[in-house]
Amino acid sequence: MESDPRPGHAAEIHKDRSMVLQKEMIARHYERLERAPQCGDPVVYTFVPGNLTELIRSFGALPVLPEINALQSGMRGRSRDFIAAAERAGHSEDVCTYVKCDIGMLMSGNIGPTGTRLPPPDLLLLSYTGCYTFMKWFELLREQYNCPTVFLQVPYQGDGRLAPEHRRYIADQIRSDLIPALESITGRGYDEDRLRANLTLAREAEDDLVAVLSSAKHRPSPIDAYFGGVYYVGPIFSAFRGTAEGVEYYRELRREVEARVAAGLGPVTPDGPLNDQRFRLVVEGPPNWTHFREFWRMFSDEGAVVVASTYTKVGGTYDLGFRHDPDDPLGTMADYCGGCYTNLNLPTRIDMLVRYLHEYQADGFLINSVKSCNSFSAGQLMMLREVEQRTGIPGAFIESDLVDPRYFSAANIKNRIESYLQMLTARRKSSQP
């Protein structure tokens, strides 16, 4: 239990065991990263969508996810200075703030969000999955590091499916380009048995994660699938998929969530449990990280719980049925990459939102459109319109940014959320006999 230091929020915050586990896992990982140069552990920088953690770890290498570092810097109030440093160095105010936060962090000594120094990469694995900016990001980082870069092109699902030839293309690149590069930097041979073992662990954790996310179909929902959801997906989206630690975390998380279902309890929010849930919402788009708790509180104060979100699918669409398959190691990694949320075309993304609204019996949906991310944001106004037309449920649209605090207008956002929820209330009343 911890005390909330904010004025007027003196209540003690309950911490589940899974929260403690996650905090310890992340701390250990960053500590290990700091020691990596001394211990001789190879380090691979890669991205969350299309990350091949099982493969990287099968070579004994450690993954670093720059988006995770950026969002953690945002949550810890460090991104403003990092972004300013990058802009002073000539990076445009128009482009992705994750990139600028990362570049700024590098320029400021590469001290990671937990306060430990991040090691330089031995390999930049540019998994080009669902985001154009990734390509530029690693072209920029590459200028700072003397290490090889592997470009893994993951074709976009423009037709709403991963074509067989695209699947082959991804698997062929992994086989002919990535694996030799990993062998070269680690000095180890490709060990398919070890990879299969990691994929088996990944699958186990994925089953538990889906059970956790699906629990939001209950009333009250035992989880918040957006604000809580980003914590739940943290280990599986980053360094811990395909590890025993990851399996333990998700087993524990599932146990806790199932216990809340049995007890009829809601999720734990910054202000304690949210059991009185007046609105069930679906959310599209990433959260704002610089004002994360304030943002969350705008919902929880109104009794609004998020029952499904698309952002929690950027690192894999497990709830749509995908599981890593140890019997087809390269093929399953290709399927994984191709199926990440931002690699899906707009009609498929709209289908997902509609499906969530129905399956989770949501009252409404909200799009948080972030300035930084065209992969998410371009087309969201059309998504809003389409989902409204197909479901008859009105949506809300707000704008913020990922890690640039200059683009978080608290009063404006709060006003919009409150107005939207008032409208849902009025709509509910008018539909009652």
């Binding site: 160095a89 000539g90 990076h91 445009s92 128009d94 482009v95 992705c96 990139v99 540019l126 080009y128 985001c131 154009y132 900016t133 390509m135 530029k136 990001w137 072209e139 920029l140 590459r142 200028e143 870069t149 470009f151 092109q153 074709p155 976009y156 423009g158 037709d159 030839e165 293309y169 062929d172 690149q173 002919s176 380009d177 075309n345 707009l346 009609p347 993304r349 709209i350 459109s369 300035k371 065209n374 992969s375 944001s377 371009a378 087309g379 969201q380 106004l381 059309m382 389409e386 704008e399």
Partner: protein, 389 residues
């Protein structure tokens, strides 16, 4: 009217024609004909043409159309191009297109492909994932497969069974187009007073919306007319313009740069018309030849991965040297991810070589050019006073 003025007038009329009249007239000549649109930066026009379709470049409307419907689809922090493209579509001006291709230029154009699927369900839509794997058979095979799929789909729409001979004819025709474009660029580089960009650019824009044979005729006529006129050499600086490969600068901006004392001796406007450098090697299957030409001979650009770690830093030096330029104007559309994310790398490379640079942003509908005139004018004066790269 001189022969040169006739070509320029013709080109300007095509540039200003938001109804795509030439394409519509071409279609009206035979009811079985089809047209296929494509967005920036690169689309394989050879494949479209071989399938019996007219390739039509969709490059926005500049400042010619008030954007009302297009703005309803986008937040303020998205670039202007997709707004004007949607305005064209929503106003029915693109209704003559049977197919539209969306190359992998950036996430905005990528997502626009999905919007098109929903807004124009009667139109064939394809997102073109350009290959980034250079020097690998994988990239060639991947792109050849994509071209084959595209050809099969377009052939189905046009009802034309395409033979290898058809493909070779189209490949040769567009090689001819590229040769002409490169010749125009060569003449402008060598004698920029003869080929001002305010004339060259509309000519190339016209080339995006007319049959290739028509462009070849007009382009050759222009070259011939230019050769017959002495031109008047001005005391201008030689600059290259970098970063305008997708959302196009307004013609007024191009004129402003030139009238501020700069010869534009290279640029990346309408880059797709010359992205493949050199001819397609004949002898093998035509689509393989086209795929190999792209994978191995595509110009370096922000929309393609640069495999050489030193490549970005070196690029500006190489381009400035090839164009014998004095300096660089980095001109990117606001919110253009490819251009703006690349700029720090390119600029650092240029500055490390002592190449003078300036940078600004525009939108295709920018209407006020005073600030650009002052910047470009000061830059040009500086180049003349203190020398260039």
């Amino acid at each position: 009217m001189t022969a040169r003025a006739e070509v320029v007038d013709w080109a300007l009329a095509r540039y200003h024609d938001l109804e795509f009249s030439v394409a519509r007239e071409w279609l009206a000549e035979q009811p079985s004909r089809h047209a296929c649109g494509y967005l920036p930066v690169y689309a394989p026009r050879e494949v479209i043409h071989a399938a019996g379709m007219l390739p039509v470049g969709i490059h926005g409307v500049g400042d010619q159309l008030e954007i009302i419907r297009g703005d309803a689809f986008y937040q303020s922090y998205i670039c202007h191009l997709p707004r004007s493209v949607l305005e064209l579509a929503q106003s029915g001006r693109l209704g003559f297109l049977s197919a539209v291709l969306f190359p992998s230029t950036c996430d905005v154009i990528r997502n626009l492909s999905g919007m098109w699927q929903l807004l124009e369900p009667q139109t064939y839509v394809r997102y073109l994932d350009l290959p980034h794997q250079h020097g690998l058979d994988l990239g060639e095979r991947f792109w050849e497969g994509e071209l084959r799929t595209l050809l099969a789909d377009l052939s189905r729409i046009s009802g034309r069974a395409v033979t290898d001979a058809d493909l070779w004819r189209s490949i040769e025709l567009y090689s001819e187009v590229r040769r002409l474009v490169l010749e125009l660029y060569r003449v402008r580089r060598d004698e920029p007073w003869r080929v001002p960009t305010e004339e060259l650019y509309p000519l190339l824009r016209a080339g995006e919306v007319v049959p290739p044979e028509v462009f070849l005729t007009q382009g050759r006529a222009y070259l011939e007319a230019v050769a017959g006129e002495p031109g008047r050499i001005r005391d201008n600086s030689r600059v290259i313009v970098v970063g305008s490969f997708c959302e196009q600068p307004p013609l007024g901006l191009i004129k402003t740069i030139e009238r501020a004392g700069c010869y534009i001796v290279d640029d990346d406007f309408l880059l797709g018309n010359r992205l493949i450098q050199g001819d397609v090697v004949t002898g093998g299957p035509p689509l393989r030849g086209l795929a190999q030409a792209f994978v191995h001979h595509a110009m370096k650009t922000s929309v393609l991965y640069e495999p050489d770690p030193a490549g970005k830093r070196r690029l500006m030096k190489e381009r400035v040297a090839a164009a014998r330029a004095d300096g660089i104007i980095f001109a990117a559309a606001s919110f253009c991810d490819p251009a703006l994310l690349d700029r720090p790398m390119l600029r650092a490379g240029a500055e490390a070589e002592g190449i003078p640079c300036i940078a600004f942003k525009y939108a295709e509908n920018s209407g006020q050019f005073q600030q650009f005139r002052e910047q470009a004018g000061t830059f040009s004066d500086g180049l003349k006073l203190w020398g260039g790269g």
